[in-house]
């Protein structure tokens, strides 16, 4: 992405301001008669935002570093690899997008992986009618589950963690039932599903051409960013996460907003189900275990607080890609070791450890930003 574009995105962001700020009261110039703030004052006032943007970009910078490193070190860190990596992580990205909104309301959605699996099954079942039927069917399926989540959380006032854990069980059961206990089901090979799925962008211009999932991912996040910044819904989401009780007393439609947030998450998971069906060339009822954790990790790395009220959609995109790249690197490194020797060969178990340690480092770095601001105990 061009730097300008980036800056734009970043500035459009709802820059997270760590809650610690709260205990750093400004001297209110109440006594002073109203005067417009001077330029310096304005700059001072903007400082937290500036810092926020820097923090944003610190994740970005991390990403650039990692990517640069890979380019230099690995021969086959080429467009093909990058595309396939992005294509793969697009699934997590879209789920994390929904999760980000959920988390900004102070909630969580454990059912995303299950929904994606269910949707992939639905897509496969609907594939004989053609790609677009399958697409719609899958998204509807996901949305329906999201609606159930939204209802249980919003109206039955059941904690999101439990509500979505329960629907996770339910969804898995339903998915298996739909294809009576076969793990997976084929796409109808005669339908246009596979052909459309295989479609790529800019054939001839780019080589290799860009898989559709990548623009899809970018567009989805652009929409997400604008929704958060420029729609009433986005503001409600943040307000509810920031102080549910106040939101209610301010007359915000808390239940309805929660409802829509989970519905959105469900819908996106449904969409991911289609990507899943494309990648598996069929539906799988058992797929998507632990995806919610991947999504949460990406969201956190992106700088969204799980306590709600503060969040960054763009950060989530960066977080997703960063984590994805790390995983990719571990595999590339193994190959490097075989080809050149002198590298670091890690089996899959070590790779888990490294992933965890990396996450730890990122989180610790983030906490340092907060520490700087935290003076008071309260």
């Amino acid at each position: 992405m061009p730097a300008g574009m980036l800056a734009l995105l970043v500035n459009l962001e709802d820059v997270p301001i760590m809650p610690k700020v709260s205990s750093q009261p400004e001297t209110s110039d109440l006594a002073v008669p109203a005067t417009a703030p001077t330029r310096i004052e304005r700059f001072k006032a903007r400082l937290p935002q500036v810092q926020g943007i820097l923090r944003q970009q610190s994740t970005l910078i991390a990403l650039f570093v990692v990517v640069l490193f890979s380019f230099i070190r690995y021969d086959n860190f080429d467009t093909i690899t990058i595309y396939s990596m992005l294509n793969f992580n697009a699934q997590f990205g879209l789920i994390a997008l929904g999760m980000t909104f959920v988390i900004m309301t102070g909630g969580i959605d454990l059912s995303v992986g299950g929904i994606a699996a269910l949707a992939s099954v639905v897509a496969a079942l609907a594939s004989p009618h053609g790609f677009f039927y399958a697409l719609i069917a899958a998204i509807i399926a996901g949305t329906l589950v999201g609606i159930v989540n939204g209802f249980i959380v919003g109206w039955m006032r059941i904690p999101p963690f439990i509500a979505t854990l329960a629907t996770l069980y339910i969804v898995r059961g339903v998915a298996l039932k739909l294809i009576n206990n076969a793990a997976s089901i084929d796409l109808d090979q005669k339908s246009d599903f596979t052909t459309i799925a295989g479609t790529t962008l800019g054939n001839g211009i780019f080589n290799p051409p860009i898989p559709l999932t990548i623009p899809l991912l970018v567009i989805a996040f652009l929409i997400g960013i604008f929704v958060l910044r420029y729609t009433r819904f986005g503001r409600y989401v943040l307000a509810i996460g920031g102080n549910p009780e106040a939101a209610k007393l301010m007359g915000l439609p808390v239940k309805r907003t929660l409802f829509w947030v989970y519905t959105l998450s469900g819908a996106l998971s449904g969409l991911v189900g289609v990507l899943l069906a494309i990648n598996l060339n069929g539906g799988s009822a058992t797929e998507g275990n632990g995806w919610e954790l991947i999504a949460i990790a990406a969201t956190v790395v992106g700088g969204t607080l799980l306590t709600g009220g503060v969040g960054s959609v763009f950060g989530t995109l960066v977080g997703t890609i960063l984590l994805g790249t790390i995983v990719e690197i571990l595999q590339l490194e193994n190959n490097y070791t075989l080809d050149h020797g002198g590298g670091l060969y890690l089996n899959s178990f070590w790779q888990d450890v490294i992933r965890g340690v990396f996450l730890l480092i990122v989180v610790l770095l983030q906490s340092r930003f907060q520490q700087k601001r935290a003076r008071k105990v309260t």
Binding site: E26, T27, S28, D29, L30, P37, R232, R235, P253, V377
Partner: protein, 514 residues
Amino acid sequence: MQENDILLQMEHITKRFSGSVALSDASIHVARGEVHALIGENGAGKSTLIKVLTGVYRYDEGTIFFDGQTRAFQSPQQAQREGISTIYQEINLVPFRSVTENIFLGREIFRWGLLNWRKMHIEARALLERLHISLDVTKPLNTYNIATQQMVAIARAISFKSKLVIMDEPTSSLNEDEVATLFGVIRQLKEEGVATIFVSHRLDELYAICDGITILRDGSTVDERPINTITRLELVAKMLGKDLGSVQKSGLTSFDASRHRASEEVLLDVTGLRAGRKLQNASLSVHVGEIVGLAGLLGSGRSEVARAIFGADSLDAGTVAVNGKEVHFRRPEDGILASIGFCSEDRKIDGIIPDLSVRENLTLAALPTLTRYGIVDRKQQEEIVDHFIQRLGIKTAGPEQKIRELSGGNQQKVLLARWLCLNPRLLLLDEPTRGIDVGAKSEIQKLVEELAEGGMGVLLISSELEEIIEGSDQVVVLRDGITVAKLPREGLTQDAILTAMAHGEAHSDAGENV
């Protein structure tokens, strides 16, 4: 008032909670453009009545008649839509969001279907100008102090084009100037024909701004009439349910500093305190048995002084000495161990543990003294709790009621008791009587006095000057985190303090400047 211009009419409202009956046969009538006072002691049911009206609570019996038809609002949202905008007792805004957002949440301004931030910022500024406040509206609300937050809440409330504005103790955290501004605004509203329900425990305010008054006692309306037809004494008598004779001259406090004598022994000595942006150079000392008043404008850093002494904030510079020897508290535990108590200013954020019972909240700080081998001595605990419920007349269904279910003022009493039951040598009180009714107030003031007689040192932060003047043996004045004056009680006057607060030098020749 004639029937035609009646705006709100609540009749025979009853509201029961699991623990208690909050309202029984309460009623109130408000005419269009009227400023109506709602008063009653802590726990009388004022806030509940308001929440019943705005649909936060369902009521059990009664009828509500608003703007020409009987209504039962299902949610605050609906009430707002129908033209009732409310400032609830505790500040209820979203801390992490910008001032602008907090003002416009729920009725944002759009351009081409997208939020129009520029316009909203401009209008937000304009609204606050109206309240004589200029601040950066793009910053998160919680970067400003309570008073400012309160003003933002007010700005939000008045910016709705509503028929009725309800203000539940809006002034409890404001000082004179801001109250004056607020009254200005209320009068404007009045001219626009907007009615106001105004809740406050400060009688002068009621007489200054209100037309009619409704007096609640134990959940029922005991009197309702034009305010100019009732004297303060009657009012207080009605409110407390006592006969005129037994009610002493209200408004002024029941402090009588001459009663107790500060000894020469220095208990606390603070010099050159610096912490963060807010404390620049604060110094003060408290003698055994002395009440030291700490005065200053909002944001002058009074709370910070207290917090710093207590060990809640880390010091950048300066020394704190207790009984002559220097101490370095790093956390509140240290302060408590040195038998210092700190009753914080912000009840909701720094005070109550909402889900714990009155008993547990009251004895939280005292637990170490109530436990042997980590096991709590329940009997002793309950004795203490009963004692203080009695002593401060805390209105509660019982020691096991959750504190979140208590009225604001009663919560405040529990928090006071939390520290009193430690009987500390030094007590730091940050706005101790905020939101407390006149009856309870004098109770508490008497108590503080007694404790001082018993040799306890008290640092009293208050925005009410009478309290400071009548209560303290010495007044320390802060300005922008700097001690600008130390005024002895002899020849202590309102304007001595006021000038010191505003300009930083006390023109009373008695006062020694620093």
